[in-house]
Symmetry: C2
Subunit: 189 residues, 2 copies
DNA sequence: CGTTCTTGTCCAAGATCCTAAACACCATGA
DNA sequence: TCATGGTGTTTAGGATCTTGGACAAGAACG
């Protein structure tokens, strides 16, 4: 006896699905980041259950997004064409800042990021799951980039381009912060 | 074995208690309006449980307040002294609008409302639970006010003052909207 | 002093959420 | 064709939320 919960003033399921798909995450990947099960994400998105606030909070921690942002999201906006610096959604941390362009855009096919690595900061070396390609250009500072077996330090005006499935790692070996504009497809964030 | 849930980034219990006490409601009164039990309100406010989103939504319907407003509330603001029209919190409905001054102020001792009755609108005649007194002045339109057995129509510049426990009823018998500035103590909203 | 009302808290039992595991489907590739 | 790895969905059962009622403490009143 499959049941669907009464329509509430706020459609939590649609909201969560919108947030997740916009960021290009699978239910399992979001579940892993949030420390819950993929089944729960599925049930919530179908409005088969109304999650406890603490569960929803855990799920949103995997995005990351606050409850206030989640409930304040306006789903019915026309696709936005221009984004001020304050419109970019921060996905990283203070050490490695990743600011996403057009985060809310449904069905987004491209991920563009404004990345900022603090002095000494680095990404974990890891194999990304998707099959897309990544490109970027340094606009300030210097960054050491390792792709497969090769390592090189890039400065302002220099760029990179590689397939995402090749293990790669960014490391800021300089004294000042390094900023990069990057793009990849399909979207992983 | 009494347990207290892990501290979350957002203290739902404190938030709800703050909202409720600020409005001068008891747990039972809020529960009645929301269609839940007083026990649930108690447990939520103590963070003994993390309510489901749908329960929290039901509870907030009794205020009324949206989930977005609830999670956006800033609890740590210094007492606000000035309130623009947009700062007043709407407590009524389209027919009978009740806009509360200083809704968020903790320990508020006074309730001041900007009331607006659409043409033909009326309050239910009911005995209010508290023992305070109410006063108000019409600033626009005309309103028929019944207090105990007496009825009178008041216009701009005219005022009223009575004990809250006397049954009373407001009714706009005119063609235009009627606006009133009212105050009562202790706070019932 | 009791009586009666209010308040918030606490406690089984029932309802709902959440997990772990399985399922069905599709795409890729040997 | 079969295996592999990805996707979202479903289900049984344990964990948690929610209810209805009891409880204790305080205030108002006679």
């Amino acid at each position: 006896m499959s049941k669907i919960l009464n329509t509430m003033s706020i459609d939590v399921g649609a909201r969560l699905r919108s947030v997740r798909t916009t960021l290009g995450l699978s239910q399992r990947e979001l579940a892993r980041r949030a420390g819950v099960t993929n089944g729960l994400i599925s049930l919530i998105e179908q409005n088969r259950v109304s999650p406890s606030v603490s569960s929803l909070n855990k799920v949103l921690d995997g995005v990351p997004m606050s409850l206030a942002e989640f409930f304040t999201l306006d789903l019915s906006t026309a696709p936005q064409a221009f984004f001020g610096a304050e419109d970019l959604v921060e996905l990283g941390n203070p050490e490695v800042s990743l600011r996403l362009v057009a985060a809310q855009r449904p069905g987004r096919q491209l991920t563009m990021l404004h990345e900022r690595y603090a002095a000494g900061a680095a990404t974990r070396e890891e194999m990304l799951a998707h099959r897309g390609e990544e490109a970027g250009m340094v606009i300030r500072g210097r960054i050491e980039l390792t792709v497969g077996g090769a390592t090189r330090v890039l400065g302002p005006g220099e760029a990179y381009y590689f397939a995402s499935q090749v293990p790669h790692r960014f490391r800021n070996v300089g004294r000042e912060a390094c900023e990069i504009i990057s793009a990849c497809t399909p979207p992983t964030f």
